[in-house]
């Protein structure tokens, strides 16, 4: 191809790169809020078989999601309350929230009760229903007891509405009657351990995961609380809400991106400058890498709609691998000296680069098979990034680096490389080589035997301890907080769902009786099934039958005739339907527990309280239809475990695949070529064994990458060696250069705040390091000394 063709192709590629930049920019900035996902939940894989279970997990997470729950604490009751009032006012004044609830609006107890009156004959407490079924049920005694209750009778339902107290006793069971928070001085207050806790709720103007909303709300809270703290010294603030977790995750990931991205860019730049002794190769290499990363970003956004922070951090580390391709090309240029022909150079490195790209893609494709959204994104990101970076070497770089290199590679690098290469190669030959290999393996075996494993969900989700502690305290005091274990009851109709929930509640009641459970919150206790309500009416019916003379009973007890008459006229009333309940203001805090019709039917969420043991909780669902305990963290951990086991098999499969590719290209020498990556993987695992570091799914993922990268080095070395025969050590020098850039970027991942990324980073650091050091062993004696 002539120069014109070269330029034309480069221009076409530049056009493609520009297109990618525009596509990426449009997706990032042109479509409303930044499509960067900070929701930790979004990273977790789908684990639940029932499609509604995942929806329920999300719903629970967001029930407390788009608001801040704040609790002001102080030993001095009045000070805590004044501070909470001041905080409420200050937050309202910031205008950053759609509403702030500190002082309660004025309301009348009767407003709560009145909506229930039409349904009063359909709602009975369990105890009343059981008593009414008794043949000797004595209505007049129930009435007398109610009228003569000690101290007072008239709080709650009024005597004229509920003379027997049936509705009252049902209402006493309702979840709002059990809240530890009590309105005091118009504030929601709890007292515990001589401390006063006052709750303030601030509703956000949008999603907790919206960058803008997050920033504005957190700044507003900081400002408001700063003022309150100054005026009321010593008061404490507890806070919880998804917005705090999202902000912490964002801050951590931003820090990671900055540290990994900046440090590796700077490190790689210095290394390349030192090696090539000219700024041009540096710029060319960075341009190639940048096009790769930008394309990866654009395509990932196109495929997934948004990009997770984890992917971004990983992408920052990917720089180190994507730059390898241009390094190989630039090294070839430097070695060629004045005889450099860009086209021939590209042809010369092509087999090595394609082989390397192939093994890398293989590794990342396996990563993409894991059903974790975050890992899939990373795989997509990596595959696109690597492919584009590689293509840029063939199509763009020949035009950009057309003139021959004026400066040779730093001689020091080649000298060091050659010295190490010779040493390793000598030891790796013949019997010495075999004996040493056996010795190394023997040393590694005790390490392998010590390997343990860890599948904790905290690998992926590590909220700051300070936040989880505050949340636990708030949940303890107010009953408000996130729950990760719950029951999901599903059905085809609301009635069927409620009946199933009632069956579950019977079991839960038994657990409460055995003191294995404190209680639960579920819709069926607030809206009994129609069947249950008809049972309630049937239990009351004999009393209201014409011959039963309930009128006389009421009047004999001293109830005015007109009132008795009005009460009897209310019979039998109506059955409370789910829609009636949903329209009552009192249901507002509990509506999220009910999932209305979807294509999968209806579902109800039941939250158990006071028991964390999943086995005990699960035992309550035995034999119940369409009733499941959902335990998201446990499911995710189980999935980690399962895929960790699969990953070890995949690694084996990948080794065989790569081995097959090598056998096709190198014939019998393939065994030798496989030695460096095998040692890299084996010794890394042995090191973890000796260090007592349990292996996680993420270690295995990283080992897969070690295989991909390690195989690259063996390939670069073998393919490069014939072309650099005039300059011993040059081929290995370019491999070392690749390895150091990879270590600079992946190794920095070891500093990540995210355990998963940290594990990947450390594994790659060890694996790539070891592989690169052993890479010369892949050359036979004839190849090293030819």
């Amino acid at each position: 191809m002539n120069t014109r063709g070269l330029t034309l192709r480069a221009l076409l590629f530049a056009g493609f790169a520009l297109g990618m930049v525009l596509l990426g920019a449009w997706q990032l900035f042109g479509r409303g809020p930044l499509p960067i996902q900070t929701d930790l939940l979004a990273m977790l894989p789908v684990t639940e078989r029932h499609p509604l279970a995942e929806a329920a997990v999300e719903r629970l997470a967001h029930a407390n999601g788009d608001r801040m729950v704040l609790v002001v604490v102080d030993a001095d009751d009045a000070k805590a309350k004044d501070a909470a009032r001041a905080l409420g006012k200050a937050l309202t004044a910031t205008n950053a929230f759609s509403s702030v609830i500190a002082e309660l609006p004025d309301f009348d107890l009767n407003q709560f009760i009145a909506p229930y009156l039409p349904y009063r004959f359909s709602l009975l407490s369990d105890a009343d229903r059981a008593n009414l079924a008794h043949p000797q049920y004595n209505a007049s005694q129930t009435l007398a007891r109610r009228l003569n209750e000690p101290f007072l009778a008239g709080v709650g339902t009024r005597v004229q509405d509920d003379p027997f107290g049936w509705l009252q006793r049902w209402m006493d069971q309702q979840p709002w009657s059990r809240s530890p928070l009590v309105p005091e001085d118009d504030l929601l207050t709890a007292h515990r351990d001589d401390l006063t806790y006052v709750m303030v709720i601030a509703n956000l103007r949008g999603s907790s995961y919206d960058d803008g909303v997050q920033r504005v709300a957190l700044e507003a809270l900081d400002r408001a609380w700063h003022g309150v703290e100054r005026d009321y010294q010593g008061v404490q603030l507890l806070r919880t809400g998804a917005v705090f977790y999202a902000a912490a995750a964002r801050a951590g990931a931003e820090r990671d991106v900055h540290v990994v991205g900046l440090a590796s860019t700077l490190g790689i730049a210095l290394l390349l400058l030192w090696t090539f002794r000219s700024p041009r190769p540096l710029l060319v290499a960075f341009l190639s890498t940048a096009i790769g990363v930008v394309s990866a970003l654009a395509v990932t956004l196109l495929v997934f709609g948004q990009i997770h922070l984890l992917t971004l951090v990983f992408g920052a580390a990917l720089l180190g691998e994507a730059v390898d391709y241009s390094i190989q090309y630039l090294c070839a240029r430097a070695y060629a000296g004045t005889g450099w022909q860009p086209q021939r150079g590209a042809r010369q490195v092509r087999p090595a680069l394609l082989l390397a790209l192939g093994t890398s893609l293989l590794g990342y494709a396996l990563l993409g098979l894991v059903p974790f959204p975050a890992l899939r994104q990373m795989a997509c990101f990596a595959m696109v990034g690597m492919t584009v970076a590689c293509l840029s070497v063939f199509w763009l770089l020949p035009a950009l680096a057309a003139s021959p290199s004026t400066r040779a590679l730093t001689p020091a690098l080649i000298t060091i490389s050659w010295a190490w290469q010779r040493r390793v190669a000598r030891l790796a030959q013949g019997r010495t080589g075999a004996a040493l290999f056996v010795l190394v393996i023997a040393l590694a075996i005790p390490g392998w035997l010590r390997l343990g494993h860890d599948d904790d969900i905290r690998l992926l989700v590590t909220p700051p301890a300070a936040l989880t502690q505050q949340e636990a305290r708030i949940r303890d005091i107010t009953g408000i907080g996130n729950v990760s274990q719950f029951y999901l009851v599903t059905g085809d109709t609301p009635e069927q769902t409620l009946q199933r929930e009632e069956a579950l509640e019977q079991r839960l009641q038994a657990l409460v009786a055995q003191q294995q459970l404190d209680g639960w919150t579920g819709v069926a206790s607030m809206v009994p099934s129609a069947e249950r309500q008809h049972d309630n009416q049937s239990a009351l019916a004999p009393l209201f039958a014409p011959g039963a003379a309930l009128d006389a009973t009421l009047q004999q007890a001293g109830i005015k005739a007109s009132i008795a008459e009005a009460y009897l006229a209310g019979w039998p009333g109506r059955v409370l339907k789910i829609d009636d309940w949903l329209s009552m203001p009192l249901s507002l805090p509990f509506r999220y527990l009910w999932m209305s019709q979807s294509e999968h039917g209806y579902a109800s969420i039941v939250l158990p309280q006071g028991q964390n043991d999943a086995d005990i909780l699960r035992s309550a669902t035995n034999g119940l239809q369409d009733t499941h305990l959902v335990d998201k963290p446990a499911s995710v951990s189980a999935l980690f475990g399962r895929y960790r086991e699969y990953a070890s098999l995949w690694l084996l499969a990948a080794l065989l695949l790569v081995g097959a590719v090598f056998a096709w290209r190198y014939g019998r020498s393939a065994v030798r070529v496989m030695v460096p990556p095998l040692l890299g993987i084996g010794l890394t695992m042995a090191t973890f064994g000796y260090l007592g570091e349990p292996l996680t799914l993420f270690h295995w993922m990283a080992l897969m990458l070690v295989l991909g990268v390690g195989a690259n080095y063996a390939v670069f070395l073998r393919e490069g060696e014939p072309h650099t025969a005039h300059l011993p050590g040059a081929s290995y020098a370019s491999v070392l250069l690749s390895a150091v850039t990879a270590l600079l970027s992946f190794g920095l991942l070891g500093l990540s705040t995210m355990p998963a990324l940290q594990h990947v980073g450390i594994t790659l650091l060890l694996g790539i390091g070891i592989t690169a050091l052993f890479a010369p062993a892949s050359l036979s004696a004839s190849e090293t000394y030819s």
Partner: protein, 202 residues
């Protein structure tokens, strides 16, 4: 009951005027000498829904730190154990049947009163203003809700007595008035096993 009032007044003392505090201290000293008290009661309740007042009679046992037993003998027989936020009924076999347990909301006022009368008055004191009247020989304490919300339901609770607590009056905004008169207040002496068990005593 006296010990209860003693504890109650102790806590109140700090927030009262000096002369009220003197009176209270005197009343406390008088009342604080007994930890277990038995008294007969007559509770009379007027309610707009009723033609004539409801009257019940029985015996009250109060034990400091444990709560009280409300034993109705007329017009029906029933024993209720009021301990903290829990109300339980004791049946003929001496078995406890929990009627309410730690619930709040609409039952809040009942419980507040119960907790105050069962020796844990701090919650009540946060919610009421207290006025004292009279002298050591004949005193009255009037509790009025501090909160608008509660004062819509409850007008006032009045305790009065001399050397003993003599009466409790609860006035509701609905027009319901409950009047409890005590007589024959005396040392409780030993409690029956059922009584001890109902109050959660060893």
């Amino acid at each position: 009951m006296r010990a209860l009032i003693a504890a109650l007044l102790c806590l109140l003392a700090g927030s009262l005027h000096a002369q009220d505090a003197d009176l209270l201290k005197h009343v406390l000293d008088e009342l604080a000498t007994h930890a277990r008290v038995r008294a007969d009661f007559v509770q009379s309740r007027e309610n707009p829904a009723l033609v004539q007042p409801q009257v019940s009679k029985g015996q009250l046992v109060f034990v400091t730190g444990h709560g009280m037993l409300w034993q109705v003998t007329q017009p029906y027989r029933e024993t209720l154990a009021l301990t903290g936020a829990r109300t339980a009924r004791i049946d003929e076999q001496g078995q406890l049947q929990v009627l309410r347990n730690g619930d709040r909301g609409v039952a809040q006022v009942t419980q507040m009163l119960q907790s105050m009368l069962s020796g844990q008055p701090d919650e009540a004191l946060r919610q009421f203003d207290v006025q004292t009247r009279g002298n050591a020989a004949h005193w009255t304490l009037r509790f009025t809700p501090r909160q608008e919300r509660m004062s819509r339901v409850l007008r006032a609770i009045e305790l009065s007595g001399d050397t003993f607590l003599q009466s409790i009056q609860v006035e509701m905004q609905s027009g319901e008035i409950t009047d409890i008169a005590f007589s024959g207040t005396r040392d409780a002496g030993a409690l029956s096993p059922i009584e001890s068990r109902a109050l959660g005593m060893p």
